[in-house]
């Protein structure tokens, strides 16, 4: 109504959106960017990072946006492929961890006191060793490689989300409509599926998106150390650990751009997660 009074102003701001719409648009754009990176990374064939000894150690230019390494491989192509791999590993790790968190969080809140004690003890167990040390231990046990790193990531990232889910379920469990539903003779499973799970969906989605950055950073850290993905994979961690040998020769572009790209990917995930929180969580929507 007020907008109709200022017709001219409305004309000027035809494309102005409110906060909610802005968040939604930035989230969608960010998601498209991420999807683009994954698709492009998957489509790039191995030829793009083939050894080309004529074009060795080139600084960034228009031909090679991120320069080339000591084997003449194009760093831009390697970086994009590495990011695509990171997102894939992150996806598997985050899905696995979220599932564990969901199952254990639900179990702790609904299966009685013994289960609750046991699960909170388990959470403490996983939180009492530094993440990176646990990852190193698990990677060592499984002999490194893709399997070792993914299992390590899945096993280390669930505790904090499990706590959130447990608290949430406890709250819903004592709500009146759940009590009434129980009085009406609905089974525990029915209540879990029809009353508790729908309430958890936003929490799980947000937790999942905010877990992503951690998973990706940990994956690249372990790979960087040398206990993660194998050196043949075009992973960001591998690129950066290889670059260390050439830093003193002044080849800064080997480390600078791949790391920057990783940072941007991680931040994009973070942004989407925060936006989702603002969009889905009613108590935060007025912030």
């Amino acid at each position: 109504m007020i907008q109709n009074l200022h017709v001219r102003k409305k004309e000027e701001n035809r494309f102005s959106l409110n906060r909610r719409q802005r968040k939604l648009v930035t989230s969608i754009v960010a998601a498209i960017v991420l999807l683009g990176v994954v698709v492009v990374g998957a489509l790039l064939d191995e030829e793009r990072i083939a050894t080309n000894l004529i074009a060795r150690n080139l600084a960034p230019s228009f031909d090679h946006l991120f320069g080339t390494d000591w084997l003449g491989r194009d760093m831009f192509a390697r970086t994009i492929m590495g990011l695509s791999l990171s997102v894939k590993v992150g996806l598997i790790g985050a899905i696995g961890s979220t599932s564990i968190a969901l199952i254990l969080g639900m179990a702790a809140a609904t299966m009685g006191r013994v289960a609750d004690r046991l699960i909170s003890w388990l959470i403490d167990l996983f939180l009492s060793v530094p993440h990176l040390v646990t990852l190193i231990l698990i990677a060592f046990t499984l002999g490194g490689g893709f399997k070792g790193i993914v299992i390590g990531l899945v096993l280390t990232h669930w505790p904090s989300l499990a706590r959130v889910i447990r608290a949430e379920v406890m709250q819903i469990r004592s709500a009146e409509y759940v009590q009434i539903s129980k009085q009406l003779g609905k089974s525990k499973g029915w209540i879990a599926v029809h009353h508790i799970l729908p309430h958890l969906t936003p929490q799980i989605l947000i937790g999942f998106m905010l877990m992503f950055p951690h998973v990706i950073l940990h994956e690249s850290a372990v790979t960087f150390i040398g206990l993660g993905l194998s050196p043949h994979e075009p992973a960001i961690g591998i690129i950066l650990s290889e670059s260390m040998k050439y830093l003193s020769a002044g080849m800064w572009w080997l480390a600078f751009y791949p790391g920057l790209c990783l940072l941007m990917i991680v931040q994009t995930f973070d942004r989407i997660g925060e936006n989702l929180r603002l969009l889905l969580d009613p108590s935060k929507s007025n912030d």
């Binding site: 403490d124 530094p130 993440h131 040390v133 231990l137 060592f140 260390m244 940072l263």
Partner: protein
């Protein structure tokens, strides 16, 4: 009254200790089983490059010497009882007792971690306070942007950038190594040590700032929205005086406990920073042990890092329990 408090404190500590003990035993057991199932053959790792010179009989002898031919549970009990006696075994790559190596490395790491811990705590706290006091100004936006960016920065990449800028381009600092190359251990001066400490410590501090700053900012904003601050403002208090009288004590405690509870992350960060700057600390030893299959050292480090995290958590809990006057008052009723 005081006696009662001490008694309660004792029970609190006892319960905490018991819980930690169960966790510690479980961690010892699990990590032992994990390491036992590793495809890396400890004998192979021990022999290393001398593979051709060592025959099958000698391999068996080595296995017998280390008790590797016995069942897993017996091995665990042997290891566990040795552990209780303070014997962590002998490192395969350093050929020295694990306890000795951990002790030596821990001193190095401790210097690094304490420096980074104090720096990141103080700077983060000040940033959080400034940010909250000047909410929605350009400086608040700057600090927020900085913290969010830093939270998603890979630690090891930041370390590499520091190396590129300060060691390669400017040449202010040496590239790596905890002490200068080619100098006897006895001749290493304190200045040398400090010179090699600066870059890793700065890297860790820059990363560590974000958490404390954001947390402090949020807490202080909550405090500033309270009625007693409104009243203080009405009396004419402003700026630093207002913060000193009503803000500081309310936000300092959460910030300090947060710092103590972040020991685990600090350790993780130290692993990466030490690896990049080849700083001879615990983190580097962990990576070496993992890469080269040094089972006793790896187990010792897992247990030690657990102790480290426990210590941090315990201190954080204690601070909440003892220092915060509000929790004490509520208990006296």
């Amino acid at each position: 009254m005081r006696k009662m408090l001490l008694g309660k404190l004792g029970i609190f500590l006892l319960l905490k200790g018991l819980r930690m003990l169960t966790l510690l035993i479980a961690i010892c057991f699990i990590s032992f089983l994990l390491v036992k199932n590793s495809p890396i053959d400890p004998i192979q790792a021990y022999i290393g490059a001398d593979m051709l010179k060592v025959g099958p009989e000698q391999r068996e002898k080595i296995a017998e010497y280390w008790g590797l031919d016995q069942p897993v549970m017996v091995q665990f009990l042997n290891w566990g009882s040795a552990l209780l006696a303070g014997d962590l075994g002998t490192s395969m790559i350093f050929r020295r007792p694990v306890a000795e190596i951990i002790g030596e490395r821990f001193v190095n790491s401790l210097i690094l971690m304490v420096t980074a811990w104090v720096l990141s705590g103080v700077i983060g706290f000040v940033m959080g306070v400034v940010s909250a006091m000047k909410k929605d100004s350009w400086i608040d936006r700057l600090i927020k942007w900085y913290c969010y960016t830093l939270a998603s920065t890979p630690t090891f990449w930041l370390g590499l950038l520091m190396l590129i800028v300060f060691a390669v381009w400017l040449g202010w600092f040496p590239i790596g190594l905890g002490v200068p190359a080619g100098v006897l251990a006895a001749d290493v001066t304190i200045a040398d040590r400090i010179e090699h400490l600066i870059l890793p410590a700065i890297t860790l501090s820059i990363i560590g700032v974000a958490n404390v700053a954001l947390h402090t900012r949020q807490k202080l904003i909550d405090v500033l929205a309270s009625d007693y601050v409104l009243f203080a403002r009405a009396r004419g208090e402003r700026g630093f005086i207002l913060f000193w009288r009503h803000g500081l004590r309310n936000v300092a405690l959460p910030a300090i406990t947060l710092q103590f509870a972040a020991f685990g992350e600090l350790f993780g960060g130290a692993v990466l920073a030490e690896q990049i700057f080849s700083y001879p600390g615990l983190g580097q030893a962990t990576v070496e042990a993992g890469l080269r299959g040094d089972v006793p050292l790896l187990l010792g480090l897992v247990i030690f890092s657990t102790f480290f995290v426990f210590a941090g958590n315990l201190i954080a809990d204690l601070i909440y329990y003892v220092v915060d006057p509000r929790t004490r008052e509520s208990r006296m009723i």
